[in-house]
């Protein structure tokens, strides 16, 4: 069951030289209870995509298009009412779209093409429109900037969608006790008194493997791994259904990293929540994710189940990324590096953004941005030649 669906999301940043197209048309979906890894090098837009979901863009960030559907049965009715009312007359309005899709489906039914691929797509869309609501529609202002203080979004943020921030070292306020910062998050969102929140914070500490009596410590009294655990406790404080972890183990030592990853896996299995893990390290993703999206220059290059992407690689960039990672245990082969360096996102290359560095690039790649090609069920490669390259790029398992 789809929990979150991102559709053609575009987030640009205004700077002196023009617009940085940090995220330029990204689509993916996450089921409830599923972990998705978003991998890419620095500056590929993975963090921006995540911040758009939590609606925490910097002031110069603008939503230039797309929708983020979030499924929350308890509240969807209430939100939908308001949302429907807001977009009553707009062509983008939900009701209008539903009736449009319904009539198209009827048409297909009549012509006997009930099982056509576009019909499936429309039915999915219909389901999304019926059970989910668009997070962006709630808070996007006319100019594309996000209203951080939108009441509806504030109700969702942290209670439904929470985040483990990059660099736990600095994510806590150094002048407040760690426990108090968790208690604050609880009391702010729920109508409970401080003692109840304190007990909850203690339980959370125990849950993530920190002694509950450390709740009154200040952040500097924690080691790196403990801060990261406390950060996880903070993200779990309100029992969210979706957690975004932004580089959760970067800057941690191997042994600590391993423990935190094990912890994340355990929590995820126990709490059955959906997660998105953003990282530059493919080995971290291989350890914890069910599904992987590989991003490059603001676009998704390849997306699929973890083993599909790793074993049946269908995009030259993914192949290059995996090929440039040394392995501890595998055979010691010469690493293959990708020539060149990542593009400037103010004026990204035309067509496929990877074509200047791609050894298989042809003139078509320069002209057209590739559409997604489903090379196998649930495995999509955004490459013109995915079908042809698939066999060649496939790694011998």
């Amino acid at each position: 069951m789809v929990l979150l669906e991102v559709e053609d999301l575009k987030v640009h940043f205004e700077i002196q030289d023009g617009w940085v197209k940090a995220v330029d048309g990204v689509s993916f979906s996450i089921d409830s209870g599923e972990t998705m890894g978003l991998v890419g090098e620095s500056g590929c837009g993975k963090t921006t995509a995540a911040y758009a979901i939590t609606q925490l863009l910097p002031p110069n960030g603008r939503i230039k298009g797309g929708r983020i559907f979030f499924r929350e049965p308890d509240r969807v009715a209430a939100f939908r009412k308001e949302y429907d009312w807001k977009l009553k007359d707009s062509a983008k309005g939900r009701r209008n779209e539903i009736s449009r899709i319904k009539s198209k489906l009827d048409e297909l039914n009549r012509s006997g093409r009930k099982s056509a691929p576009e019909a499936d797509e429309m039915r999915d869309r219909l389901a999304a429109l019926t059970y989910s609501f668009d997070l962006l529609a709630l808070s996007t202002r006319k100019d594309g900037s996000l209203d951080d203080y939108n009441e509806d979004i504030r109700k969702i943020r942290w209670t439904q969608i929470s985040m483990i921030f990059q660099g736990a070292m600095n994510a806590f306020n150094p002048v407040f006790r760690v426990g108090d910062q968790i208690i604050e998050a609880i009391t702010l969102h729920e109508d409970v008194d401080e003692n109840v929140a304190r007990e909850r914070a203690k339980e959370l500490f125990e849950f993530v493997g920190i002694a509950p009596d450390r709740i009154d410590n200040y952040p500097h009294e924690f080691s790196g791994g403990m801060k990261q655990r406390a950060m996880i406790a903070l993200a779990l404080a309100l029992n969210p259904s979706f957690v975004i972890a932004d580089e959760p183990t970067t800057a941690l030592d191997v042994i600590t990293q391993d423990r935190i990853l094990a912890e994340i896996k355990r929590l995820q299995e126990q709490l059955k929540m959906a997660m998105m893990i953003i990282t530059h390290d493919v080995s971290v993703v291989a350890e914890v994710s069910d599904k992987i999206g590989v991003m490059y220059a603001g676009l998704i290059m390849e997306i699929g189940q973890t083993s599909q992407v790793f074993k049946n690689t269908a995009h030259p960039y993914t192949a290059g990324l995996l090929g440039s990672f040394p392995s501890v245990k595998g055979e010691r082969r010469r690493l293959v590096s990708i020539p060149g360096f990542p593009p400037d996102l103010v004026s990204p290359p035309s067509g496929c953004p990877f074509h200047p560095r791609c050894q298989y690039a042809q003139s078509k790649c320069q002209e057209e941005r590739p559409e997604g090609v489903a090379v196998e069920p649930g495995h999509i490669s955004y490459c013109h030649f995915a079908e042809e390259l698939w066999e060649k790029l496939r790694r011998t398992a």
Partner: protein, 622 residues
């Protein structure tokens, strides 16, 4: 590989940093962060030695000590057979040229105001390399093309901000290469680079090694990267190398429990690979408070009796197992615990006699001995009279001129590699001999070498006298003799200060205890304490033990005949004292002494610092 092929030899290298404390700690002992605490390794010509470890393990400090960006607290670094601490003046410049560094952050390590040409040209000018500007320019171009920045023309006039991260790191490498160094120390050179760029820089470094045969010390926290690039790997933990071998031996047959845990934690970029996780307890202890014995022991899943258990471990164990609760036998008897190194002292509640307490604790220890290595390591449990102490005062000692000459001879032999072809004194010092109170250096080559040898000896003796051999004051007269081409050091009688003789005394006592000369008492003597010129000895058990020990020590320390260490000359007074104001009756638990495990060879150059691999030891796990 033969010893001569070692470009760098590191022996017992130590670097302690003083911990800055507030002014309220005035007068208290200085606390040191022991960043590097006894590191040994060799770097062979043409090889890449990977130095891996977690953050704070001291790997970067080792790199800085090798390049003399820091001076060691103790220990030696030999570069081409020469002790780098002694290099001065013009030689230092040559040394700096020969050992180059590549730093972690290419955004910080290049000057933003100089072009690529200027950046690489600067070291060439500094070291007077190249005859003309044209020649130097050619070298710059060559270095850039070697570093994969071809055609070099395109890059010559760029500023760092016009380069990508990978290109900047290549410029750093070109700068290091341009002066044709003998060794490169690379400190995390790829950790700031993106994955797709990193592979290119790693391949470049491998290719350059193959082309020029320059050895690297490659410092990194990333084990996958270290495995890819290194020929040999050294794994560091808390300031020491714990395991060292050919890369694949470390990766596929890790022997040290720490290496095993570390490797099991490395994530593998393959979703199907499931690794068996070996979890170790807790976190890395502070480098300011390093555990006794083996420094990995508190976290080690395989720790056994000999690994160095101490009082603090017993406190934790008692607490964890509920023995301190009010209704437990020990909890009832004990009012306070004072862990102090190897000795745990218990203060007793009123109504508990020391004998009862001793029996309770002995019972507990004896029952648990088989099950827990901590209890197995208990040496003795007995009463302790806390108000006594045997104090030995030491006095400055005379060193005869002959002894001084022979000490100097040993020092020179062990630290100056003049026999090796690369050593600057090679061919100048032809040989050394002793003649009574004179040390005679025969000098080879022309008479100008006499001056060199004399200057070298003067520097050498001054350096060591200041460092930790004050007695070398007596080796002052250094005279060259042109007729037979020798330089003679004539030693006169000298003195060791009392702080130094106290060390000899305490070492002597410890040796007597270890040699079992004290009979039954040996197990009861607490570790010897040394304070400046005083040595204090204490013993557990009843009153009479004190007088027996006092008598024995007096006999050993003043008695004549067999005393080859001249120990009697160093002792001024032995007294059994009563200290005021302490509690009279207590009970103590003393643990067996332990050493820090050195590197044991387990075959084909694979070295492991773990007592599991000490020859002759039988361990249940092996």
């Amino acid at each position: 590989m033969s010893d001569a092929a070692s470009i760098i030899k590191v022996r017992n290298l130590k670097k302690f940093f003083e911990l800055k404390k507030g002014f309220l700690s005035f007068g208290k002992d200085i606390v040191y962060v022991k960043a590097v605490d006894g590191v040994d390794f060799d770097m062979r010509s043409g090889e890449i030695l990977g130095l891996v470890g977690e953050s704070g393990c001291g790997k970067t400090t080792v790199g800085r000590l090798l390049t003399r960006l820091e001076d060691p607290t103790d220990g030696l670094v030999f570069f081409l057979g020469r002790d780098i601490a002694l290099i001065e003046g013009q030689d230092l410049k040559v040394f700096r040229r020969n050992i180059q560094m590549v730093f972690q952050d290419p955004y910080e390590s290049l000057n933003p105001r100089t072009t690529v040409t200027q950046t690489i040209m600067e070291p060439l000018l500094n070291h007077n390399i190249g005859e003309s500007q044209e020649e130097r320019m050619e070298m710059v171009v060559q270095a850039l093309e070697d570093a994969g920045l071809a055609p070099a023309k395109e890059y010559l006039n760029r500023f760092p901000h016009e380069l990508s991260g990978g290109q900047r790191q290549r410029v750093s490498i070109a700068r290091a290469l341009a002066v044709k160094p003998r060794v490169i120390v690379a400190d995390e050179p790829v950790s700031m680079l993106d994955v797709s760029i990193r592979a290119g820089v790693l391949n470049l470094m491998l290719d350059l090694r193959d082309k020029y045969g320059i050895p690297y010390l490659f410092i990194t926290h990333d084990i996958a990267v270290a495995r890819y690039i290194s020929d040999r790997l050294a794994v560091m933990y808390l300031g020491r190398v714990v395991e060292m071998a050919e890369t694949d031996s470390v990766i596929f047959e890790p022997k040290h429990p720490y290496t095993q845990a570390l490797l099991s934690a490395v994530p593998i970029p393959d979703p199907d690979a499931k690794h068996g996780r070996i979890d170790i307890k807790g976190e890395v202890p502070s480098a300011a408070d390093i555990p006794y014995g083996c420094r990995f022991r508190p976290r080690c899943p395989k720790a056994f009796r000999e690994c160095g258990w101490e009082a603090m471990d017993m406190v934790n164990w008692l607490e964890e197992n509920g023995h301190l609760k009010e209704d437990a036998a020990i909890g009832r008897a004990v009012s306070a615990m004072h862990p102090d190194g190897l000795v745990l002292r218990f203060d007793l509640n009123e109504g508990t006699t020391p004998v009862e307490a001793v029996n309770t604790i002995r019972d507990l220890v004896d029952k648990g001995r088989k099950g827990h290595p901590l209890l197995d390591a208990v040496d003795s449990v007995d009463t302790l009279l806390t108000d006594r102490v045997i104090e030995i005062r030491s006095k400055p000692a005379r060193i005869s001129s002959e002894n001084l000459a022979s000490e100097l001879f040993d020092l020179l032999e062990s630290t100056v590699g003049y026999r090796e072809p690369d050593h600057p004194m090679h061919g100048i010092i032809a040989g050394m001999s002793l003649d009574g109170n004179r040390l005679i250096l025969s000098v080879g080559g022309g008479s100008s070498n006499l001056k060199l040898a004399q200057a070298f000896l003067e520097d050498y003796i001054r350096h060591h006298r200041r460092k930790n051999r004050p007695e070398l004051k007596g080796a002052k007269r250094i005279s060259p003799n042109e007729s037979d081409m020798t330089v003679t050091v004539t030693c006169s009688d000298s003195r060791e200060p009392s702080a130094k003789t106290a060390e000899d005394v305490s070492e002597y006592i410890e040796n007597r205890i270890a040699a079992d000369d004290l009979g039954d008492l040996a197990g009861l003597v607490l570790p010897v304490e040394k304070r400046r010129s005083r040595v204090r000895v204490r013993i557990m058990g009843p009153e009479e033990n004190w007088s027996m020990l006092s008598d024995m020590l007096t006999r050993f320390l003043t008695g004549g005949g067999e005393d080859e260490d001249n120990i009697a000359e160093r002792v001024s007074k032995i007294s059994l004292k009563t200290v005021k104001g302490s509690q009279k009756n207590a009970v103590a638990v003393k643990f067996i002494r332990a050493e820090e495990p050195p590197l044991f060879d387990v075959g084909s150059g694979h070295q492991v610092a773990c007592f599991l691999f000490r020859e002759g030891d039988v361990h249940p796990d092996l």
